[in-house]
């Protein structure tokens, strides 16, 4: 039933990669990732593929970002709008397998499940994905998690389910960023919510992550369960999920509600549609935290995952539905 998927594209591995291999990131990428992604992004203008399967001039494109930058450069407004602070503030936020997730709405098996219940039915694997933030920076992240479609197969959305809505935990005691600021305003309308169409949720690329770099997710990365939709801007990949609701109508999404002219429901990575305040044609790829660990590279349509997802948007005007 599940779509057959190119093994190379997903960078699947039967086991979680041991840390020693991560240590030599460049070698690791040469062995596993580049070979696959080279095939993925052929056809992109200006990209030359050499005989050895290494993309000329694009060595950095798919080099893994260091564990430090992945865990110390986080947009997690529930903690702070600062990108470094979540790593400090999340130290005591260590949810375990008793974390509860509500499955609600148009679904045959609604209920409150613990993460442990869910994981019993899921197959966790490792996937290396590019992450492109709407702020025009990006990383390459080795996630551990399970395909969202597996969860859908298990909980069985009804035929009425056209969308999936996700919600982050709302608890200002854990997340001080959810409190009012000094002028009485909230940084965002809480709780954070995001949504996908049911077709997007069923796409094999959509992942529910439980770990990164072979370890369970740190608090600042959205412990213990977060969404990863690599062809969309990062804000779609909602963190610390407590509710998954299947709906007939398009759910409200936090950023879309806050600034509808800047953040759309679809939020597909698209170098041709600029953010009203900045260009999306290029991105600053963050590789490590050294002062020159950042390189500007061109942004790819659907973040380079067009082959897997472009068909979802065949009849959609992507300029209008950004």
């Amino acid at each position: 039933m599940r779509l057959k998927f190119d093994k190379k594209v997903l960078e699947k591995e039967s086991q979680v990669t041991p840390e020693e291999i991560f240590w030599n990131r460049r070698r690791f990428i040469n062995n596993f990732a580049l070979a696959g992604t080279a095939g993925l992004i052929t056809g992109f203008p200006g990209m030359v593929q050499s005989q050895s399967n290494v993309i000329v001039g694009e060595e950095l494109r798919d080099e893994l970002s260091s564990e430090f930058v992945i865990t110390h450069h986080n947009n997690f407004y529930e903690f702070s709008t600062d990108k470094k602070k979540p790593s400090e503030m999340a130290k005591s936020f260590k949810p375990g397998n008793d974390w509860q997730v509500k499955i609600e709405g148009e679904v045959n098996k609604p209920g409150t499940y613990t993460l442990e219940d869910i994981l019993k039915h899921m197959q966790v694997e490792e996937r290396i994905y590019r992450l492109r933030c709407v702020e025009a920076w990006s990383m390459v992240v080795p996630w551990n998690g399970f395909q969202l479609s597996q969860l859908l197969d298990w909980v069985q959305p009804t035929s009425k389910a056209k969308f999936v809505e996700f919600k982050t935990l709302h608890d200002p005691k854990i997340f001080p960023g959810q409190k009012r600021g000094i002028f009485g305003s909230h940084t965002l309308p809480w709780p954070y919510s995001e949504g996908l169409t049911i077709q997007e949720a069923n796409n094999p690329l959509a992942l529910l992550a439980t770990g990164v770099y072979g370890k369970s997710l740190p608090g600042q990365n959205g412990a213990p369960l977060r969404l990863v939709v690599p062809w969309k801007y990062g804000f779609k990949s909602i963190k610390s999920i407590v509710s998954i609701r299947f709906t007939e109508t398009q759910p409200e999404c936090t950023w879309n509600k806050r600034l509808p002219n800047e953040y759309g429901f679809y939020a597909n990575v698209n170098p041709e549609v600029d953010h009203p305040r900045w260009s999306q044609a290029t991105e600053r790829r963050i590789t490590d935290n050294s002062f020159f660990g950042v390189k500007r590279i061109p942004t790819l349509m659907f973040n380079g995952y067009g082959e897997q997802v472009a068909h979802l948007y065949k009849n959609l005007d992507l300029k209008r539905y950004y």
């Binding site: 430090f68 930058v69 992945i70 110390h72 450069h73 407004y77 709008t81 990108k83 470094k84 702020e135 920076w137 600021g181 000094i182 002028f183 305003s185 940084t187 965002l188 950023w255 806050r258 600034l259 305040r277 900045w278 260009s279 600053r284 963050i286 935290n289 050294s290 002062f291 660990g293 950042v294 500007r296």
Partner: protein, 209 residues
Amino acid sequence: MRSVFWFKVFAHAFSWLPITWLVYAGFSGGLGGDPQTKLMHELGWWGLVFLLLSLSITPLRRLSGVYLLIKFRRMLGLYSFFYLCVHILTYFAFYLEFRWSELGKEIIERPYITLGFLAWLLMIPLAITSTKSFQRRLGRKWAALHKLVYTIAALGLVHYIWQSKSDLNEPLIYVAWGILLMLLRVKKWRRFLFWRQDPSHLEQLKKGS
């Protein structure tokens, strides 16, 4: 006068602290996952803070009666200009990788960059004419020219708010600070505060009577 000298030494040392720390932190991994962006934002923030500090000198000396504070007004303004120069330089170097054509494009296409850049341009004549000799040479015109600093501050604040994504809590602190400073320029608002006359002005009054 001796004490002013040491205060000045202290003020200079204080003014160099942020950039020294930022450069050190940048190279020792203390600026987080994206040190270039962090450096750029911090420099811009300090530029704004130095500008507001400089603008606070006049009302502060009136309120406190410590008239020697005037000795620090120009210095703080020039440090603001310095931090903003480096702020723009980091943007040009790290975001645009020294591509002039893109600098032009960004300035035209991105309104918040347009405003920020305009504010910096307007600061150039103020920095050049900040010397004592220019002050003397320009006389009344000098004071009129340097009123531009309020426009610059307003542009800087709008630039700061516009680039922030959603959280206005912090930018609003500086907006409140800026608005207070501008209100203090309006005579009828000053009456609500404990406001002292400049001593030189008082002496003139005495002579006149």
